[in-house]
Symmetry: C2
Subunit: 219 residues, 2 copies
DNA sequence: CATTTTTTTTAGATTTACCTAAATTTAAAT
DNA sequence: ATTTAAATTTAGGTAAATCTAAAAAAAATG
């Protein structure tokens, strides 16, 4: 089956919201899509008749198996394009989201297959998020945010969950990117801020808000 | 100003039809876009209020200077993407048109600028058609079709005007591509067919219809 | 637990890009 | 120069995706 750009955006947003809460509300989706709740209700009826969501009036909704697979296809396209934009065209990683948002809707199977090969079958996008495979299988790596990491452990940054230009500009300032090695010196219980030591950099303090968005794994 | 995908498609099609006839008719545009004449009239009123076309009721229309510049921007994007698809992703040149048709509407200046640099500033697309520069300047190369070439002159294929899969499949069979050297052995006046000799191939006869679509320049 | 607040849905409009069918204008043909 | 044919436009309508305002349902609160 074929989907409109609008339908694909709804499916993708439901998918992303489900990473936080198993069932998604009308308001939260309207907020995510910068649209109005009434519009969400309209579209959800449509997605329901197309058998992509489980939806009960006033009770929220979630993608069913079919919807999930379609969402993963969109996510795959988005992340492959982001990889292309950063690693081939030389974009900064805080500038690619909006462009990938357009490219992801280009609907050729063959294109994505060849793009994947051209990029050498990357496993993660420039923010460290895993790229689903052709069958919609996604390798979720268990990861902890810097807010939850014990002091003195050497860790490697594996992904950054907030991809806003503001956040990514700040990371650049701290010399933090995917693959950066660092350790936590201290957790300040007063405000949750964290002192970290990035290799070859002076120690610095980051706010709790920042720490919660930086995910790491042990090396 | 910003244009919808539909508006862009109309602008691009008017541009292409103007290569043949200075002024374009409602029917020919409807035919090109596989839509109905009434829809063309609707859209043309819109393009007129947006000051992109000169349009007089019942008299046909053409792009004005602004419209032309926008058309050349779209053509530029289309041809850069075609170059990318063939020379980077390894598509056959008869498979790229439909995909480039989608990619051309992705609306980031920065994307096209960086894509152009990544491709090393190509001058022509895979069919030999020139790629307009950033300012909408296009270098039109004076070229003759095989139907108009004198016998025994060595020529090089510079472009192919019909990009249908059927045509391009046939060219592959004759071992003809952009840059191929060949000469005309004979013009048959009976049906306009042409015997040609492609280097390292046996002589063969192509129909007038094919000959008229293959453009060459002297080497 | 009744009531206020919040969330969600319905009802009815709007915009864009189409369409069909009928009317109008232009072009062609006898 | 009429008449016929073809091309174009108008009129009115549809589907997709929005919206606002009002109604209905669920959740929160005193």
């Amino acid at each position: 089956m074929n989907f409109s750009v609008s339908e694909e955006n709804y499916i993708k947003s439901i998918y992303h919201l489900q990473q936080q809460t198993a069932t998604v509300t009308t308001n939260s989706l309207a907020n995510e899509l910068r649209t109005k709740p009434a519009s969400v209700t309209d579209m959800l009826k449509k997605l329901q008749t197309k058998q992509l969501v489980e939806y009960e009036k006033y009770r929220g909704f979630k993608l069913n198996a079919t919807g999930n697979k379609i969402a993963l296809g969109i996510v795959r396209r988005h992340r492959l394009w982001e990889f292309f934009l950063v690693n081939k065209l030389g974009f900064e990683w805080d500038k690619v989201h909006a462009i990938a948002e357009e490219l992801e809707h280009v609907s050729s199977m063959e294109l994505i297959k060849k793009l994947d090969a051209f990029l050498n079958f990357p496993q993660t996008d420039p923010h460290g998020d895993p790229i689903p495979d052709t069958n919609g299988k996604i390798t979720v790596i268990k990861q902890l945010s810097l807010a939850d990491i014990a002091v003195k452990k050497n860790v490697v940054v594996s992904s950054v969950s907030n991809q806003s230009p503001e956040m990514l500009e700040m990371l650049k300032h701290y010399h933090i990117g995917i693959g950066t090695s660092l350790k936590v010196n201290k957790h300040f219980t007063f405000d949750g801020s964290v002192e970290i030591k990035v290799v070859q950099q002076n120690p610095c303090v980051i706010s709790e808000q920042v720490a919660k968005n930086i995910f790491v794994h042990h090396d």
